[in-house]
Symmetry: C2
Subunit: 338 residues, 2 copies
């Protein structure tokens, strides 16, 4: 660790450490001359303040944590970009933690934040998270927390989401408009709010169009790629085979396309597909993929901005408010009649 300290500068210049500290922070009660001398020496010796000494003294770390379920996913990658952009601007550092959709790990991660390691937390909960005690505990320690995307409604704090219900509805309506009557929905959880809302939008659209909801059309996917493929295949081999599929999460797209290829089902003629996805490649898939695109970057940016607003004013309490940034439906070949 760095060896050149404020004490050393002080000795060198025959000043007190207090004077140095103040000069470096451009305090008003240090003369311009002294400031110059200090700054000059600091520059010359390449002085770098020890962040942990400051953190200890001031009780703030200038660091935030971002807890994500995973990162091999365009949505979270893009969100990180948004978050980091704001953090850099504010002079903060970003610790990244991955829960890997694992509740135990998420608990351990949040527990660590009770130590004062970070000034605030951006959280997108894991698919396994039902119990929210660990999040409550964090809030009870007054660590500012902002949810994004995968929020937890029972915790009263700021939440950035996209319009999941409307998106689920729009996706379903779009397929119906294109002739589908038997639409499968692939989701990753039946406890996550995002999953439920998309599901509700789906069900409402069915209802509004006089189509009965069939539970057999709902597939709960796991982290096990092979198993998912099998399950999707099973659904597509049913005698009452779906004529449309909605993937509520990006990574299931590949599975659907591959299973269709294997079963020699033509997209979109025999089955129409729409995915919640941020993949840049949607446009060049075979066939090109109709998507619900979430504003990932903007959601990350918004979440970070709200958190920093809380961090900057003292005694700023995060309200139980919800910012909804809409997703966009981009219609391509996979869902339309050729």
């Amino acid at each position: 660790m760095g060896n050149i300290t404020i004490k050393l500068l002080a000795k060198e210049l025959n000043l007190s450490t207090a004077a140095i500290s103040k000069a470096l922070r451009d305090s008003h009660d240090i003369s311009a001359v002294t400031k110059q001398r200090v700054l000059a020496l600091a520059a010359k010796l390449d002085y770098t303040p020890n962040p942990y000494a400051g953190s200890l003294r001031r009780k703030k770390s200038k660091t935030i944590a971002v807890v994500l379920p995973e990162v091999a996913d365009s949505f979270f990658s893009l969100a990180i970009n948004g978050i980091e952009e704001v953090a850099i601007e504010k002079g903060y550092h970003v610790l990244i933690y991955l829960s890997h959709e694992n509740f135990i790990r998420e608990k351990a991660i949040l527990k660590d934040f009770q130590s004062g390691r970070v000034d605030g937390v951006l959280l997108s909960i894991s698919a396994e998270t039902n119990d929210i005690q660990h999040i409550q505990d964090l809030c009870n320690k007054d660590v500012p927390l902002v949810f994004f995307d995968r929020v937890c409604n029972d915790i009263p704090t700021a939440k950035i989401t996209t319009n999941d219900y409307e998106s689920g509805y729009a996706a379903t309506q779009h397929l119906i408009d294109n002739g589908c009557r038997n639409i499968a929905l692939l989701s990753i959880s039946n406890s996550l709010a995002i999953s439920n809302k998309r599901m509700e939008g789906y069900q409402q659209a069915l209802k509004d169009n006089g189509i009965e909801y069939d539970a057999a059309n709902h597939l709960l996917c796991s982290n096990d790629v092979l198993k998912n493929n099998e399950e999707i295949k099973k659904i597509l081999l049913r005698k009452k085979r779906p004529d449309g599929v909605i993937a509520t999460v990006e990574k299931l797209t590949t599975a659907i396309y591959l299973v269709c290829k294997e079963l020699q089902l033509n997209i979109p003629n025999q089955i129409k597909v729409i995915s919640f996805s941020n993949q840049a490649s949607a446009n060049i898939l075979n066939p090109s993929l109709t998507t619900i695109t979430q504003p990932a970057f903007d959601m990350g940016k918004a979440a970070a901005s709200i958190l920093f607003k809380a961090l900057e004013k003292k005694n700023f309490i995060l309200k139980n408010e919800s910012l909804v940034i809409p997703s966009t439906l981009t219609i391509r070949e996979s869902s339309t009649n050729s």
Copy 2:
């Protein structure tokens, strides 16, 4: 920040802070009974040690930094997963910094690491980085550094790369084997070692097949998507139009596919395409994409492992060694005759 400290535990149990500290760290010179009492109270009061106090005292932060050019890219996303996996296992924290391919920002980021904020650094340099003084400076402060993917050969430390030369060669040879004689190469830098090596492999393959290298076939792409599209279009509109294209970086794939569509060039009949890419969707593109796939996850994991080896033993010096993990060529429709 947390208010329950060792001092408080000490008072509560009529012990010294030293005893508490030792008991918590399971030191040998504390009696089993006392340990129990301490642990019990700590658990009861939900004591969480202040990491910065420890860092200040011990002069180590239990944190590493990962500096990446960007993260909206499958390669770096996957690498983060590999890194994080090892870090968690070792009880370390991971600070993520994005240079956004910007030299100035990279310099500022590395500068901060001279403060003792992190115990070690994993670095993949920006495309703009020519001057390496900032990296030298970091090394001179004895901050352990491991490069991965985008390495800097002039800095004597551990480097994890993939076989870029061979991959460039293999990609080129593959296209030649499939009838191409006029192959364009799209790269992102002419200073990065990865770019140069891929380029050298390309040139050597041409040479070995008696094809003359044409500088007009080499396109240096930028961060500007629109401009790249224009440049690619220009190349594909040349009278001596290429019959093959190698994208040395994932994000250029979309551009190539879209330009070909716009120009009504059939892939692979009129032009063959191969990309360096980790996209899961390569398989379901139209047509499916032949790729050179880099071992992103394993490279991240290997880089982190080597760094932690250095961090764990004291006085362990990172040698100027190179670990090369090979990429794999996956042949699909975009490069083969139908």
